[in-house]
Amino acid sequence: MNRNNIFIHIALALVLILVAAFAGQLSRWRKQLKTNVRIVPAAEKKQPTSAEEIALSETRSFGRPEVLVKFKSGVSRSTIESLTSRFNDRIEDSIENVAGLESIDDLDNADASIVAAQYRAIPEVEYAEPNYDIELDEIDNPLEPILPSDPQFNDQWALANSGQRGGKKGADISATLAWAKTTGSEDVVVAVLDSGVDYTHEDLAGNMWVRPAEMDPYHDEELGTVDDLNGYNAIDGNSDPMDENGHGTHCAGIIGAEGENDLGIAGVNWKVQIMPLKFMNAGGFGTTKDAIEAINYVIDRKKAGVNVRIISASWGSTQKSRALEDVIRKAYENDILFVAAAGNASTNNDRSPHYPSSYDVPNVISVAALDRHDQLASFSNYGVKSVAIAAPGVEILSTWLGNQYEEKSGTSMATPVISGVAALILAENPKMSVDDLRKRLMDSTDPIVALKGKTVNGGRINAAKALE
């Protein structure tokens, strides 16, 4: 045996050792994966159908070419390229440490096992096997979605859209991923300025604001002292904000129906404090003056030490009020975000403003409504200059009077979604200023084709992005 032959034999031996080592490692990986991960052939991957599945589908996934093919030693690069081209395939990558091992992408999207069989049938191939998607199962993952135990959660498409009732999968606010970061905080207070709230509702009672015992009752020069233990009623100037309509109760549930309590639905926040304020009557309408009185109450309580940082305003009209604008500006000066419904007249607010959502005050964020197909709701107002953002607002399930749950539609329903996401942000960032909070919301959307030219940022709120 001459010297050259020895080197050739040594080189061959090294290659065989590498191949054997690689095969052994593959086997060990497979054994590990059996305990820690599920392996699904990429071509057989099932489309998610339930809310749980769509939530799970939002975990990290790894895109893979279709097959791994090991060509025999001595097969040239040009031959490999010719063969893959003949099958209308593309070499996605070459595995550097194993000569001849290529990952190949099938451009016809054929079943991976069939493609692998095609390659095994040709003499130049040593082996071929389907590539596999590897889905993390038990491995700790910070983006693992969190699903609540609330029995009607699967009907809450706005939070997790699995395509239920013909909707578009993933057309939601990514709540289940956001909840991996936070499900809210009882330190955050959201004022629901509305028809009041049914504070006895089984799915809300645990998240209602109660005036701290050490805090003095509300005092108004005109009304005197009001024992605002459970909130404030600006219609009657008293302490009972009980909802007689249902609208305010619905909005409150979207923001903060108790999560993981085995009842009804989950709010965007599982834990939060909802401060109920009543200025609209049993018919669902009220006066501008009473709205101003209620906002004034919120500012007073903020100054008294309540951490109320958001006013959710699912109401409005086309009538401009300088006094209402002034009190909203005063709320801004007190670091309070004002989330307002864009209106339901299908009109352009840039041309025909809707108030309070169209006030040019830095804390106002105007909200349009989307349906379960990621389309602007047929009724929703819009405005590329004046409507800031969009959120789900059609067929939204939430709490209703008498421990009931109902589906309702309107920019009224989209507004508390934004308020709820704002509360999640504050749960993670308690000191965030109102300017930064509004900016964070505006920077935390998924672009939606249907919103191009319709809202300022052309996007649907994404709660998970808002918490990044």
């Binding site: 509305d194 028809s195 309509n245 609208h247 619905h250 200025f279 609209m280 049993a282 018919g283 669902g284 309408f285 009220g286 006066t287 501008t288 003056k289 709205a291 699912s314 109401w315 409005g316 009209s317 086309t318 009538q319 009020s321 419904a341 864009a342 209106g343 339901n344 007249a345 299908s346 009724f379 309702k408 539609s409 309107g410 920019t411 009224s412 329903m413 507004t415």
Partner: protein, 91 residues
């Protein structure tokens, strides 16, 4: 107190007769249709009024008197006269 469709039509007829100072029998019912209104003031807010921005089902009532047509809007909570001489009225 909850209002039904027939009650809403009767309220509307009485209101129009009073406004026009005519006999209720001279008010003709032209049409009554189920309708979804854009908000809780049924798209007919009075001055200084704010309403919940929730789609609200109700009835669109068209009445005829003195050769003119008048539109009322109603739901279980209220009856409103829409754009009567340029203004909305809750009756």
């Amino acid at each position: 107190m909850s209002i039904n469709k027939d009650g809403a039509v009767q309220n509307a007829r009485r209101d129009l007769a009073k406004r026009l100072n005519i006999d209720p029998g001279d008010v003709k019912e032209r049409s009554v249709e189920d309708s979804d209104f854009p908000d809780m003031s049924l798209g007919a807010a009075e001055d200084g009024e704010m309403s919940g921005q929730m789609i609200t089902p109700g009835w669109r009532i068209r009445l005829e008197a003195n050769g003119q047509t008048f539109e009322y809007r109603a739901d279980k909570n209220q009856v409103r006269l829409y754009k009567y001489k340029g203004k909305n009225y809750r009756i």
